[in-house]
Subunit: 470 residues, 2 copies
């Protein structure tokens, strides 16, 4: 069967509105948003219902046509971009945007996979609840993609990864069968928890079509502290104190180096030097509670006082208003954009056993400086989760090609050091195309074998998202 | 090969100290603690190391010998009791009791599978941290079994099931291969999360030998409220208020009927009538925080005041001392034992979408009363999780055989009603032997097929815990 014949078959089954084949129409679906990856497809499908997704997948499996599920296209690893195969079909969830229910007694939300995360967060907020998953791309990313990649973000230290928020999943398997796991139960010990396989599977096992999520109480009382620290080691000791004293109030514990602040001040608008002097590194902590601002501020004052007295930080600034809170967050939030503005650079989303971060940072930087003494590291991340965005920019004055030329050698060093300390080469972004080779070379062979066997259980014809992950 | 030959082979490989075969020696390992199940075995193994577990399983697989992993034997479903097959080998983890590490910066604990849960809780407490998994059998149950059954308990409403506390697992597969997943990383998006399959698999995929768990801040400030409610519906409205106002402070939200209080007062020592009059039902709420008892009590006073004013409860008693707190908890904790003292009864550990509990309770009781108008329901449970222990005792004056005679009909009604409302026939206890038939008849055929295929991936020779779950 030629590609054209198969597109026609899809169109006959699903209607012309669902099946795009014209070059101009499918063009936007062939690349990732960073422009790192570009592929081919014979058609883009935009189904409106789970039944249409099932119909599409059954046809694709029967014809042996590869399927690339697509969410908001905000992934950083090329996981939702087709490879070079001409037969690919891209399946976009962007039309499946219904919020099926929000329940403030059960504290659950059921939504279709194409819902924009930010919209779901606002819907929960309006209902008096919190959907805690929060990340930079939340106003573009879709909840189905968030689950397919087990997204992280800034509130993981308190609420866990996307996985921890999932009560149920509805998905279509490549066989066209519907996995009816859209339960809202908090407890259900009836056999293997199959939805856990779909979470983080990056579209290689099936297509998530709807999700049931846990909601939390709104935490309307918030306070932020920016603490200056002399080292990652001090940042960890400070973390120990905050964790112990503040309990579940600690919603974010973000780290960034003084170099990151330089970069942000150079490139971003409306940010201010936080202290009278520059310090080696900073920690941004957010505390939040359901009520009683006075008690929260009192606690914060006590804990920060203790931190200064025990010399667990060098200096500290506490937000006294929402404007100040936002200004402090801006220092952290603008780092990625400032680094982009600075030019091409190398990103590494890694995680480490938290207690080993200080050693890792010393030895990784030493090896990188052997390679290039003038490399500029901009290191920041979700420190409370052991998650570093270990990013490197070219030396001052170096040509823009530096990142492309040195990339492989730099990344090899970073990931090698991550392994040495028992870390993970992908903390929250996933594998996709970007880290596939590294993943396949370094993952435990037994785990790889089990994953491949499980992939065959779900996707016997091997049509789901080829060239990604496995 | 005869059984005797294989036992000899095990003894040659593992040493006489590890392999028990004498009838008197293996006798205690052949039944469950409730005395509902009894089986056979040619040997009981008590390995001391992961390597010995691996050696044992490799030999069993080569000989096609069934293996029954055994933890603390506190399960309620016969999952750790061998079936009638003479060739069975019981593999006990009771000698693997090392706590490998407790880290108060990373907030992790790594422990071998045979550690008693209560010991791990105390070890965490001494280190200034909380291991929140807490259940009636915690001073007998082993952590490996807790994970293999995805245990629940009284703190799930705040901290989630055992699954949510797991960072990593080391396990031996039936092939004798070691699954080296004992990572302490908070974030690790590198392929399918295989450990999730082992959690809750009831020993059918492999043997958990060690676990890495999350620890939480100690919550040394505690307060308990006992509220009287007129109905499950009112209990849910009260839950909505508490959840919203108290956030993460709400650590337990337990429900029991007035009949349960009668039962406890009749059979338990040292318990007192909580109010001047008997009410239809009660809710026991525990609030806890890292510090500031005054603030917690103030919050509680405000919330209870609001609940009374809005008529979300009929009466309320707040603990003013540790002794009062324990006395209130005793009302809840003694229910199981009181019901045992009352005589044979029927237990059902079910869960429901929380918002549907009131309807379920009405229709289930109506159908049971059609079967037997004098049946005595004693209903209690972890209401905040939608989890009911829906237990039934014989009518007053009925012979002790009532439970055995009516059991099947009663259970059919209860589980049928659970299905009708989209609930689960096993909330936290698992399937084991007890619910296997119901499970196989009611679970979605697609999910059953996937589970069986996954079982074959992990256990190609089918030696792991036969006759349980699948």
């Amino acid at each position: 069967m030629s590609d054209t014949d198969f597109s026609l078959q899809l169109r006959n089954a699903l209607g012309p509105d669902v099946v795009l084949t014209e070059a101009a129409a499918i063009e936007p679906w062939l690349s990732d948003w960073r422009g790192l990856y570009r592929g081919h497809a014979q058609a883009v499908l935009r189904p409106r219902t789970t039944a249409e997704v099932a119909q599409a997948l059954a046809l694709c499996q029967a014809a042996g046509v590869p399927v690339v599920p697509r969410g908001g296209n905000t992934g950083l690893c090329g996981g939702a971009t087709p490879d070079g195969g001409a037969a690919n079909v891209v399946l976009s969830l962007d039309r499946m945007t219904a919020v099926r229910s929000i329940d403030t007694i059960a504290n659950t939300m059921v939504a279709e996979a194409g819902c924009i995360l930010g919209n779901l967060r606002r819907a929960a907020q309006e209902a008096g609840r919190l959907l805690p998953l929060s990340l930079a791309a939340e106003d573009s990313s879709q909840i189905g993609g968030n689950l397919a990649t087990n997204a992280g973000g800034v509130n993981v230290v308190r609420y866990g990864m996307a996985r921890e928020l999932v009560l149920g999943i509805e998905a279509v398997l490549p066989t066209g069968e519907i996995f009816n796991g859209l339960r809202t139960l908090r407890k259900d010990n009836t056999g293997y928890d199959l939805k856990q396989l779909l979470i983080g599977s990056e579209g290689t096992l099936g297509v998530i079509t709807a999700v049931a999520l846990r909601l939390y109480p709104r935490t309307d009382v918030r306070s932020v502290v920016l603490a200056a620290v002399e080292s990652p080691k001090q940042a960890l000791e400070l973390y120990e104190l905050l964790f112990q004293r503040c309990g579940a109030r600690l919603q974010a514990y973000e780290f960034f180096t003084g170099d990151c602040v330089d970069l942000v001040l150079a490139h971003a608008q409306g940010v201010q030097e936080p202290f009278a002097q520059r310090y080696p590194a900073y920690v941004l902590m957010e505390l939040a509670d359901t009520s009683d601002e006075a008690a929260l501020n009192q606690l914060l004052e006590t804990v920060v006082g203790e931190a200064l007295e025990r010399e667990l930080c060098l200096d500290a600034a506490v937000s006294a208003s929402l404007a100040q809170l936002q200004a402090l967050w801006k220092l952290r939030e603008e780092i990625s954009e400032a680094q982009r503005a600075d030019g091409p650079h190398l990103k590494h989303d890694v995680s480490l056993p938290i207690e080993r971060i200080p050693e890792f940072m010393v030895t990784a930087e030493a090896r990188l400086r052997e390679l290039d003494p003038s490399v500029r590291p901009f290191i920041f991340g979700h420190f409370g989760d052991g998650n570093l965005h270990y990013n490197l920019s070219r030396p001052a004055g170096a040509p823009r090609e530096w990142a492309a030329e040195k990339g492989a050698a730099v990344t090899d060093i970073v990931l090698d050091e991550v392994h040495r300390y028992g870390g993970s080469i992908s903390a929250e972004h996933g594998i996709g195309q970007l880290k596939r080779e590294h993943f396949l070379h370094t993952k435990d062979p037994l785990e790889l074998r089990l994953m491949r066997d499980i992939k065959r259980v779900f996707d016997p014809a091997g049509i789901m998202n080829p060239g990604k992950l496995l």
